[in-house]
């Protein structure tokens, strides 16, 4: 014994690892490198500078950050309230229908975001489905409801709902039935069973749902563009502008790096504490 052999697991994982190195790690490193390049330059061979990061704070671009984070936070809070009853229902109420309902919630995921948001545009626009109906039924003429902060939030809640719902369902499914019944048997009221048993035990799933939807919401861009016009500019939009109109790739890169740092730290902190095997169903 003692021959050097790659473990079976490593052999299987190698293609994925190599691909992610080339397609995920490397580009992100490129972005980091770019962020230290002189403003408005191209290529990565120039002398490193912190000018871009300085620019972010001087020009108040970081306010866009604040908006992105705030909206993501509000979205996630709303989603938690909306999704928990549904997640609960998936596991304990719907019975045979759970699979169909899951399917119904899954289908929109595969339609491009833009198309789905566009549907909302058609719904809320002047003479659109909602306003047009109101006008023809009641005779009231409203202006388009689009291009408000509320609209953007609606869009975000809409788009990121499945990402909160599915991990939460996994979490609720993790609460063993007999534990709940035992608690009730020992005198706990329905609310107490929920607070003492169901909530803590479904936490891992709920937290992953929170994390996933928050991270994705921070990176959202379509909702504010399509439904919000220019009413808020999220950080992703600033990044895009820097890369396209402004032709200032290093600045865009610096903004992206900051976003990545925020997102990355959150993800690592949270994922660290979870044993994925248990959550995903290893026996």
């Amino acid at each position: 014994m003692g021959r050097f052999r790659l473990s079976q697991g490593l052999k299987c994982g190698l293609p994925v690892i190599l691909f992610l190195l080339a397609g995920f790690v490397a580009p992100l490193l490129a972005v980091v490198t770019y962020s230290f390049m002189p403003p408005r330059s191209f290529g990565i061979t120039n002398n490193p500078t912190l000018a871009n990061y300085a620019e972010i704070f001087i020009s108040n671009t970081y306010i866009a950050f604040y908006w992105s984070l705030l909206f993501a936070f509000i979205t996630v809070s709303i989603l938690t309230v909306i999704c928990y009853p549904i997640a609960y229902g998936m596991v304990r109420v719907f019975g045979r229908w759970a699979a169909v309902i899951t399917l119904l919630f899954t289908i929109p995921l595969f339609v491009s975001e833009n198309v789905r948001l566009y549907g909302w545009v058609l719904f809320f626009i002047k003479n659109g489905v909602l306003l047009g109906s109101i006008r023809s039924l009641f005779g009231y003429n409203f202006d388009s409801l689009l291009f408000t902060k509320g609209m953007v939030l609606l869009g975000m809640v809409y788009v990121y709902l499945p990402f909160m719902l599915f991990p939460m369902s996994l979490g609720v499914a993790m609460v063993p039935n007999d534990t709940r019944e035992a608690a009730a048997d020992l005198g706990a009221t329905r609310w107490q069973v929920f607070r003492e048993i169901e909530l803590p035990l479904s936490m891992p799933g709920a937290v992953i749902g929170l994390l996933l939807s928050f991270v994705l919401a921070v990176g959202s861009i379509s909702e504010s563009k399509i439904l919000g016009g220019q009413v808020i500019i999220p950080i992703t939009h600033d990044i895009e502008i820097a890369f396209t109109y402004a032709q200032n790739w290093p600045l865009g890169a610096a903004l992206a790096v900051m976003l990545m740092v925020v997102v990355g730290s959150l993800v690592l902190i949270v994922l660290r504490r979870f044993d994925l095997d248990v959550i995903l169903g290893k026996r």
Partner: protein, 266 residues
């Protein structure tokens, strides 16, 4: 369990869920309605119904080109993602090895990542490498986030796979290749099937990654977006509806296939 309020509670939960489902499908309904007008503009309630824009869209050469691009990309993504993701799932869920928990977290990272930022990062990277942007670079971009998703989906199936089955087959005289072909692959096939569905649909409907990495080629989502921000085009609701229904049909078809196959084994 206190049964007095349970019925009310369950009714409420049903009602809430159905309400949310309606909320989810309102946009799809709006688009469908918009596609059924024969007028150039969208006015609700619809005065002039007609399928004229459906005819025009399906006849359009530009649309055919878009379909071809999107489908070819989705097929490439599916094949590569499932091949790599299958083994990734084995590494994720089956074998015990030293780097495993680190591997699990690394695989998840691209999923927990804002896609627009990923798209831009890839744009930068391709540029730094001097690679010309085309649908091929977009396929690569799609794979960066779809391979982890497929890995995860197949892993869920792998978790319930009993390794004793492979050992038993080996013990009964099968060669390593026979074990894989007769036992491992057939049992994991449902997971592979789901993974393929996911890969195809996620690539088909992807926008942020395509936007930055397709270069001169265009996918359907990109086309729709360009038309959307330019103002109202009647063709957009048609394509949008096709997209939605297409995804629904593929998914439902996949689901019923799985159910039918499971039923066949009885």
């Amino acid at each position: 369990m206190p049964g007095l309020n349970q019925r009310n509670r369950h009714t409420l939960i049903w009602a809430w869920t159905l309400a949310v489902l309606i909320f989810i499908y309102l946009p799809a309904a709006s688009i469908l309605l918009a596609s059924l007008t024969s007028s150039r503009y969208f006015l609700f309630p619809i005065k002039r119904w007609g399928l004229v824009w459906w005819h025009k869209t399906f006849a359009s050469l530009e649309v055919h080109q878009l379909f071809t691009t999107s489908i070819i990309m989705a097929l490439c993504v599916t094949v590569v993602a499932v091949s790599i993701g299958f083994f990734g799932a084995l590494a994720f869920a089956r074998y015990d090895w030293r780097g495993r928990s680190f591997f699990q977290k690394i695989v998840l990272l691209p999923i927990f990542f804002p896609q627009s930022v990923l798209g831009l990062a890839l744009l930068l990277w391709f540029n730094a490498l001097g690679v010309e942007l085309s649908w091929k670079t977009a396929v690569f971009a799609h794979l960066v986030w779809i391979i982890p998703v497929v890995t995860l989906v197949i892993s869920i199936q792998v978790y319930s796979f009993d390794p004793a089955l492979e050992e038993a087959a080996f013990d009964l005289g099968a060669s390593r290749w026979q074990v894989f072909r007769e036992v491992t692959l057939p049992i994991l096939l449902p997971g592979v099937f789901s993974g393929s569905l996911f890969a195809f649909l996620l690539s088909w409907g992807n926008f942020p990654l395509s936007l930055y990495t397709t270069g001169a080629d265009t996918t359907i989502p990109e086309y729709l977006y360009a038309k959307m921000v330019a103002g109202y085009t009647p063709g957009v609701p048609v394509l949008g509806t096709v997209s939605t229904f297409g995804a629904a049909i593929v998914l439902l078809g996949g689901y019923f296939t799985i159910v039918w196959r499971r039923g066949r084994r009885k």
